[in-house]
């Protein structure tokens, strides 16, 4: 068998899940997209894929999908999935179905060597790439860089035929909850800093959390705040805490020392509220509001409550 690879991407509402595109690139541009609204994803693969097969299969169902995919991919030596939740579910099911070894949690899927990560990513193990295998690629290890030579992927569709298989019934898919979301994944964050400490700090951070919820943002804080015990350390953004990468960041009473901003990623939009117009956080902001952060939060809370009441009245 030649050293041919193919990626399988589990698609939910046209979204490839974390690491899906990386898996396609790692497999050299050949991919099967299976799941819901796969055609929508296909149109976004310019620069990433050469050869795409679409299987519109509805809700995630690992046993049935493994059955349907097995004949489509058995001709390929290496089958690559991303180690996202869906990929990690589907890959072993497929490996069992095809009676192939599973190389889980790979960092690199080379032609001769597959390197997998063990012990929480601290140890790497180089494996001789078997003739036939299923592998999952750790999301994020490769990065995504479009290959401009891959302009027009060929696209074909295959009918999904579900054989007899035991799978769970999907009752509903719930949207992200900002308040409980892992800060590192949060697309919107409201941060609070030293200026919110002092008497009543607990209530103020509670207020910040509620304001965050109202705009779909998760709450984070600086080290001074977490050290004061007002907010748990899992919510500390920066050098000794969590590294985040939101699209929107709202900083309340944060001066923006580099130990904080180094953990901020590259937000598209930054709003900062501070009494010191000259601090680095204000310099970083698209909208820098020179005002008292605590009073501003009060005003924001009042406005949002008012809006909610208006909506309730109809």
């Amino acid at each position: 068998m030649t050293n041919r690879r193919i990626a399988i991407v589990a698609v939910r509402d046209g979204q490839p899940g974390s690491g899906g595109i990386e898996a396609i690139l790692e497999a050299g541009g050949r991919a099967i997209l299976i799941g819901s609204d796969v055609a929508a994803l296909a149109t976004e693969l310019t620069g990433f894929a050469t050869d795409v097969t679409l299987v519109e299969a509805g809700d995630f169902a690992p046993a049935a999908w493994a059955g349907a995919l097995a004949p489509l991919v058995d001709g390929f030596s290496g089958i690559v999935l991303t180690a996202s939740p869906d990929g990690r579910d589907l890959a072993p099911r497929l490996a069992a179905r095809l009676d192939r070894p599973l190389l889980a949690g790979a960092m690199t899927i080379g032609s001769d060597i597959v390197t997998v990560l063990r012990h929480g990513g601290l140890v790497q193990v180089d494996l001789a790439a078997p003739e036939r295998f299923v592998a999952t690629l750790q999301p994020g290890v490769r990065g995504v860089e479009p290959d401009l030579s891959l302009l027009y992927p060929t696209i074909r569709s295959v009918e999904f035929v579900a054989g007899p298989a035991a799978d769970p019934v999907v009752l509903e898919v719930r949207p992200p909850e900002a308040a409980t979301m892992d800060l590192a994944e949060a697309p919107r964050i409201v941060g609070g800093g030293a200026g919110m400490l002092g008497d009543g700090a607990d209530e103020r951070f509670e207020q910040l959390t509620r304001f965050g919820e109202a705009i779909g943002a998760s709450m984070g804080a600086t080290r001074v705040v977490t050290d004061a015990g007002v907010v748990s350390h899992q919510r500390q953004i920066g050098t000794t805490g969590v590294v985040v990468d939101p699209r929107l960041y709202l900083a309340f009473a944060i001066s923006g020392a580099v130990q904080h901003t180094a953990g901020l990623g590259h937000p598209d939009h930054v709003i900062s509220v501070n009494t010191d117009p000259h601090c680095p956080m204000m310099a970083m902001a698209d909208l820098a509001v020179v005002s008292d952060a605590n009073a501003t939060l009060d005003a924001l809370a009042a406005r949002l409550a008012l809006e909610a009441a208006e909506v309730a009245r109809g």
Partner: protein, 647 residues
């Protein structure tokens, strides 16, 4: 945090204990005859004590034809070994490995010191030195290769753990590698294989001299950023050739050329952190050797992220460790917040070096003076009560230096916050990092138990009422009004603009007699606000002193984009009836402007009234900073340290 950053790594025979490298940089600490000094030893030892994983010294010249600046270490002189021992013993006391960088600067040099023609692959003059070099003959090439081996051998004898070949920045090897400077038609020119021949011959010879016990590294430039120079694809190809020799243990990287594009090597705060990361990343994809990444690494988290994302295996932190030798130790022990962060201002490190002075640091008065004991703690037997008036850089430094020796210090600041002029300077676009100077000083004040009182005006009566043992006056300076300005309401000072007490609109002429950031910062600020801005200067270029901090080129790029007009050799003479008269001093002719606003960046006046009053009333009093004589921030810090630590 820091799983990779704090993990050890093998560089051939040498194991480093963490991934932070204090990489090669000029210090000007050598003696005038090119010998390493006690100043070197103490400087490097302090960074070793502070936890650096690896130290790489500044370049050592391999050949007598290479002496481009006065205080270059003469590796070619056998007598250096004594000095090498000084350095390596001091560093090894902290179990930190130290490598020597060896180099021949080639044509990026002057014959001023050596009195010999400079050597280069081809007779192409460097744009900075403007000296046509001698194209070296085959014999001379052999001489160069042999000289590298000699110096490597000397480094081994001198106790170094490894040797790095400088093949970027300013180097004859770079000269050969780069199509821009190599025009040869023999086997050392033309194809990449030919241009890399000298490098590979040197690698061979140096490895032969070192044996297997010492590490060998090669520093390559990933993009020279000059017309016709080496770019990333070719740098990756050279890295592959180096890797293929099997004789090299790591690759260091760089960007820019030390003469034509120096401002991209030692990037100031205007250039984003990690800007050169694409270079180690691309090289690392191509080779298995460990790769060092450099380029404004300011914070451990930024370094860890670079390692996690696989862009490099080690990170070079130079200015961060000049500013705080304990950068690593503090980060490692979870006290990153106590780090004296580098400002990337380039004023006392790069700037002083450019003026042939020894390397220092704007906020670390001990940098380069470790061997003299500056900054050391000597607790006094009888602590005094000290009152510092003014919380600008001078006052804060005096306060923390005095408190460090055990005195009880209170700082009174008239304003509601600390910082003085630094706060204003940091308030303009892209200059925010300058404000870290004050934040760092405040952190150190807090750690040393200094009491800060804001919104308190101190006069002689208040000082007397407090009954302290000694007073340090740090009241700063005030803008002066040029004689020609009269009392026109539309003439103001740069400080008025930054403080918001004046808001120029329409057409603005900025009269710049300070030739530093004051005028250019305000010019950008006003241009961003929509003003039509012209900067006039009596100098040959606007913002002349931005040259030494490597901010000039970027100012030109931004000024051009913002439509800021720069006019030189003009001296403001008169402003009346809305007409500003400027004397073009080269031709002794007058020019006129009729702007809506005139903003002055002119020499300020010391605010010394309080000092004089206290002195005359017999109180024990000293003064520091601008109220002695208005200067730049580094002078304020040096004053403060000297006076504060001597109480």
């Amino acid at each position: 945090m820091g799983e990779l950053l704090w993990s050890p790594l093998r560089l051939g025979p040498v194991t480093v204990k963490n991934r932070i490298v204090f990489s090669a940089h000029l210090t000007n600490y050598a003696t005038q005859d090119g010998m390493p000094s006690e100043q070197h030893a103490a400087y490097y030892a302090a960074r070793a004590a502070g936890g650096a994983g690896l130290i790489i010294t500044e370049e050592h010249s391999t050949h007598p034809t290479d002496w481009p600046y006065e205080k270059l270490i003469h590796g070619f002189n056998h007598d250096v070994i004594t000095g090498y021992r000084l350095i390596t013993d001091a560093v090894h006391r902290h179990r930190t490995p130290i490598f020597a960088q060896i180099n021949h600067n080639g044509g990026q040099a002057s014959s001023m010191y050596s009195r010999l023609p400079v050597w280069a692959p081809s007779a192409v003059a460097d744009p900075l030195f403007r000296e046509v070099p001698k194209a070296v003959s085959a014999n001379e090439i052999a001489d160069i290769v042999a000289s590298y081996a000699d110096v490597a051998q000397r480094c081994a004898e001198g106790g170094f753990d490894g040797v790095e070949l400088q093949c970027s920045h300013s180097s004859i090897v770079r000269g050969f590698l780069s199509p821009a400077t190599n025009r040869r038609t023999d086997e050392y020119g033309g194809s990449l294989e030919n241009r890399a021949r000298l490098l590979l011959e040197i690698v061979d010879a140096v490895r032969g001299a070192l044996g297997t016990g010492l590490a060998l590294g090669v520093r390559l430039c990933g993009d020279e950023l000059i017309e016709g120079g080496t770019t990333i694809d070719e740098a990756v190809a050279v890295a592959r050739l180096v890797d293929a020799t099997g004789q090299v243990d790591y690759i260091n990287t760089s960007i820019g050329v030390a003469t034509a594009s120096l401002f991209m090597i030692e990037a100031s705060m205007h250039i984003p952190p990690g800007y050169a990361m694409f270079i180690p990343s691309a090289i690392r994809k191509a080779v298995d050797l460990p790769v060092v990444g450099v380029g404004r690494f300011k914070d451990p988290i930024q370094a860890e992220r670079a390692l996690e994302e696989g862009h490099c295996d080690l990170v070079g932190v130079v200015r961060g460790m000049i500013a705080d030798p304990d950068f690593v130790a503090k980060a490692r022990s979870g006290h990153t917040d106590d780090t004296r962060l580098c400002l990337s201002c380039n004023q006392e490190c790069v700037g002083r070096m450019g003026l042939n002075r020894w390397l220092g640091c704007i906020e670390n008065p001990a940098a380069g003076r470790e061997s003299e004991g500056v900054g050391e703690v000597h607790l006094v037997r009888k602590p005094k009560d000290v009152l510092v008036v003014g919380a600008g850089p001078a006052g804060l430094q005096a306060a923390l230096a005095a408190a460090r020796q055990g005195h009880r210090v209170t700082v009174c600041e008239r304003d509601v916050q600390a910082g003085g002029q630094v706060r204003l300077a940091a308030s303009v676009p892209n200059r925010a990092e300058f404000g870290d100077l004050i934040r760092n000083q405040l952190t150190e004040c807090r750690r040393n138990g200094v009491t800060l009182e804001y919104g308190v005006t101190v006069d002689a009566a208040e000082a007397a009422r407090r009954g302290v043992d000694t007073v340090i006056v740090a009241t700063g300076s005030t803008p002066s009004r040029p004689y020609w300005a009269g009392d026109a309401a539309n003439v103001c000072d740069v400080r008025d603009v930054l403080e918001g007490t004046a808001s120029p609109e329409g057409s603005v002429v900025i009269v710049d007699e300070l030739v530093f950031h004051q005028a250019t910062s305000v010019a950008e600020l006003l241009a961003d606000r929509g003003c039509a801005v012209e900067v006039v200067s009596p100098g040959m270029v606007v913002g002349q002193d931005l040259g030494i901090t490597l901010d000039l080129e970027n100012w030109w790029i931004r000024a051009g984009a913002k439509g800021i007009v720069q006019s030189t050799d003009l001296v403001a003479m008169d402003y009346s009836d809305g007409v500003l008269t400027l004397l073009h001093h080269l031709t002794n002719t007058n020019r006129t402007r009729t702007p809506d606003w005139i903003v002055c960046a002119v020499a300020p006046l010391p605010l010394d009234a309080l000092y004089l009053e206290l002195r005359d009333s017999g109180v024990e009093v000293q003064r520091v900073g601008d109220c002695v004589a208005p200067r730049r921030a580094h002078a304020a810090v040096v004053d403060g340290e000297r006076v504060g630590s001597s109480i």
